[in-house]
Symmetry: C2
DNA sequence: AGGAGTTTGTGAACGTGAGAACAAAATCGA
DNA sequence: TCGATTTTGTTCTCACGTTCACAAACTCCT
């Protein structure tokens, strides 16, 4: 998914390695969580926090948190903990939130609307610079403090605002075409809310958020819980009866 | 996360093991994707598909897909492939989509609105039976074909409709309280859209969808790409200059 | 100054997941 | 009926991620 830059030069220094190889995906995915936790602590006027404190607030194991942070550098003080403000800045810089990221949203239906108004973006360095829809009837409509623009102006918008990140909130059928157009216009990161698998050239990152998939995963576990809690025999029957030998513990 | 039911009885049969241990999390997360792929093929009138076909459509490796499917049982035919309709049913049954899942959404702001109107839920066996909001002014308002109900009626709603899955779309500050109330009322699976870490008792599953985190992950990769593409020297300077030795390949 | 107490950073062990590779099982044509 | 061909199901290996456990490094108190 990430542009594969295999290790080219071999040299000492963990810091150097980080620049070369980057941070493990799993860690990257947690950094925003830590950032949010630190911001919350900062707002409560807390200046220093141990890995244990942070881990509890973030809902993770403290060893994992320490290891995650160690990929960024050695920003803690043994016997003391981490300086909240300092660590917050370091994580923000690492993720790239010390700069401003212009974002364009394509497809202003129910979800697009909600995303356009979502305050969580603006407060974290993301600026929705334009809303685009393929439906000409919607063009001109005001959402939040933006007007919906014509799909034909996509290229112009992306050039003008130097947009690198695009959000797709169209129906599934339109998603691949929109994706292709975004990529052609120079977008290299896409957040996809459409229920479709997007194919993109190398060097373009795609992340997908699929609401119904999340619910389905919950449903699977929910079903298992229901089965485990007494319905085992009935389930075996419904299942076709392979081996109905309930171990009566 | 999942209720830990360690292997109690030891017996042969992969099918038996599946029931005991369940399917790997990573596989569970992909089953809905396969399901969608199969539905799409079915609608195009395709009766049979090889693992290669399915894998391509789903955007995964074919070996991975075969291994995933093998956890459910042996539903393919060597030399032929999988019967689309049959496999679709088996996956649906495994996930628990042959039954209907009543869902309640709490917090009908921008996002709650969008979720309430989201057609992707209904089409996959999830039925939004009630919308709840803490703001008394919103109560009675119509969204889609439902009316927003008072927060105080939460318990009653959950009992009446036998709701097992709750969706939290409130501001972060209210999320934990709502979560506690949902759990107290009998909900055992929660999909959380609020930017907060929820703590729940054992036996309750939580999945979170955080839009701003997804964007931040993209931003990290985007920044790396920008750095890799020429800005390396400038970045090293800004970084504090540890060792500015660019390997000129 | 020195010892007791904290807390980080990391090495090592373990578990899970991904992908290559191949034997087993099916179809098809002669 | 038999060999050629296709495609599944599974084994094996490797990479990645998590957790434990502990030495190193810091503070604080006497």
């Amino acid at each position: 998914m990430t542009s594969s830059t295999p290790s080219r030069s071999r040299r000492n220094g963990a810091r150097e390695d980080r620049v070369e190889r980057g941070i493990p995906e799993a860690t990257v995915a947690r950094l925003p969580l830590y950032l949010r936790t630190l911001t919350a602590l900062s707002e409560r006027g807390i200046a220093t926090a141990s890995s244990e404190d942070l881990a509890t607030s973030a809902g993770v194991n403290s060893a994992k948190l320490r290891k995650d942070l160690s990929y960024l550098g050695s920003y803690g003080t043994r016997g003391v903990g981490y300086d909240v403000e300092y660590l917050r800045y370091q994580i923000a810089r690492e993720i790239g939130l010390t700069q401003d990221w212009p974002v364009v949203i394509v497809g202003i239906g129910n979800l697009g609307h909600a995303l356009a108004n979502y305050s969580g973006f603006a407060s974290r360095g993301f600026r929705v610079v334009s809303l685009v829809d393929t439906d000409p009837k919607r063009v001109g409509e005001t959402v939040g403090d933006l007007q919906i623009e014509a799909y034909a102006t996509l290229q112009q918008i992306i050039d003008e605002h130097r947009v690198a990140i695009g959000v797709i909130a169209t129906p599934a059928g339109a998603a691949q075409q929109v994706c292709d157009d975004l990529v052609a216009a120079g977008v290299t990161s896409i957040l996809n809310f459409a229920a479709a698998v997007l194919s993109v050239p190398d060097g373009v990152d795609v992340r997908k958020v699929d609401l119904s998939i999340e619910l389905q995963i919950l449903a699977y576990h929910e079903q298992r819980k229901a089965l485990a809690a007494g319905g085992a025999a009935a389930a075996a029957l419904e299942d076709g009866v392979e081996a109905l030998e309930v171990d009566t513990a």
